[in-house]
């Protein structure tokens, strides 16, 4: 036989558990406490020295936006700063009525703050043996190269902007693209560089120099 005092000291009262999913933990030495169930998908973690339910931190990519290109420029604005990196793809794009260099600008900055190193190669002879690689400094945009007004170019571009939301350092960019010119010869470029500006990137402008964009789809992913 236990007295009530002895029972309280020896056993945990089941009235502590009030709800389905409750668990018992020690909030202090010899101090049982109730932890109510979390939300679906939550994981048990530790905060302040005690267990607690929390939304799991996941990696991977979150699609933030899909934008059809049109007009002389397309700007995607209001980009969340809640990620570590942005990955941008532009697919099936081409200019009209003639060829024009595809380019992007961070925060629509058209001052001479873009520095890039660009390599290009095509499969038709060696058209860029002397023109590539090249270092471009004080440019007013991150230019790729002239893409033709070829609806069958299958042009695809990939841009990475790590640390884009930082407000203390210049912004690094890496980009690449490939497409098919009239006549079927293939072109591919690879470039990297930086935007000499410490502002967080909240918008990106895309354009074909001097042309209208006939087609193209911009997708922006946030990466944790």
């Amino acid at each position: 036989m236990y007295t009530q005092t002895q029972a309280n000291a020896a056993f945990i009262n089941d009235s502590l558990l009030t709800t389905t999913g409750d668990i018992i933990y020690a909030s202090g030495a010899n101090t049982p406490a109730r932890r109510g169930i979390g939300s679906s998908g939550d994981v048990l973690t530790v905060s302040g020295g005690v267990p607690t339910w929390a939304t799991p931190v996941t990696g991977g990519m979150t699609l933030l936006s899909t934008t059809s290109m049109s007009g002389t420029s397309t700007t995607v604005s209001g980009i969340s700063g809640a990620y570590n990196q942005l990955v941008i793809t532009v697919s099936d794009f081409y200019p009209s009525p003639t060829q024009g260099s595809f380019f992007f600008r961070l925060n629509s900055d058209s001052t001479a703050n873009a520095y890039r190193y660009l390599e290009q190669q095509g499969d038709s002879g060696s058209p860029y043996a002397t023109a590539s690689p090249q270092w471009f400094f004080n440019a007013n945009a991150f230019y790729f190269d002239a893409t033709q007004n070829n609806a069958d170019s299958n042009a695809f571009a990939w841009i990475e902007l790590p640390n884009y939301a930082d407000t203390t350092v210049n912004k690094f960019a890496r980009f690449q693209s490939s497409w098919t010119n009239f006549g079927g010869n293939k072109q591919t470029i690879f470039g990297h560089g930086f935007w000499e500006n410490t502002s967080a990137v909240t918008s990106i402008q895309f354009s074909h120099n001097g042309q209208t964009t006939a087609a193209g789809t911009i997708r922006i992913w946030g990466v944790k």
Binding site: S65, S70, G71, A129, A141, G210
Partner: protein
């Protein structure tokens, strides 16, 4: 004067706007075109100068690349 159209997609609000360029944007647009023309001219002049040099040396572009180790 009618200026070219631009598109803005605000991801935060989901709003898509198409409007004419502002005067400032149009000035930048024209400056970009002028810079592009200058770049193309420079590239064309470089191509002509390169061919003239090849002719002077009496070698082909492929032979020049072989000498320079290019691919």
């Amino acid at each position: 004067m009618t200026t070219p159209m631009v598109k803005i997609h605000n991801v935060e609000t989901g709003e898509e706007t198409e409007r004419s360029m502002t005067a400032e944007e149009f000035a930048q647009w024209e400056a970009d075109i002028a810079a592009s023309i200058a770049k193309e001219q420079a590239k064309a002049e470089q191509t002509i100068a390169k061919q003239a040099l090849l002719d002077k040396l009496g070698i082909t572009q492929e032979e020049a690349q072989l000498l320079l180790g290019g691919n």
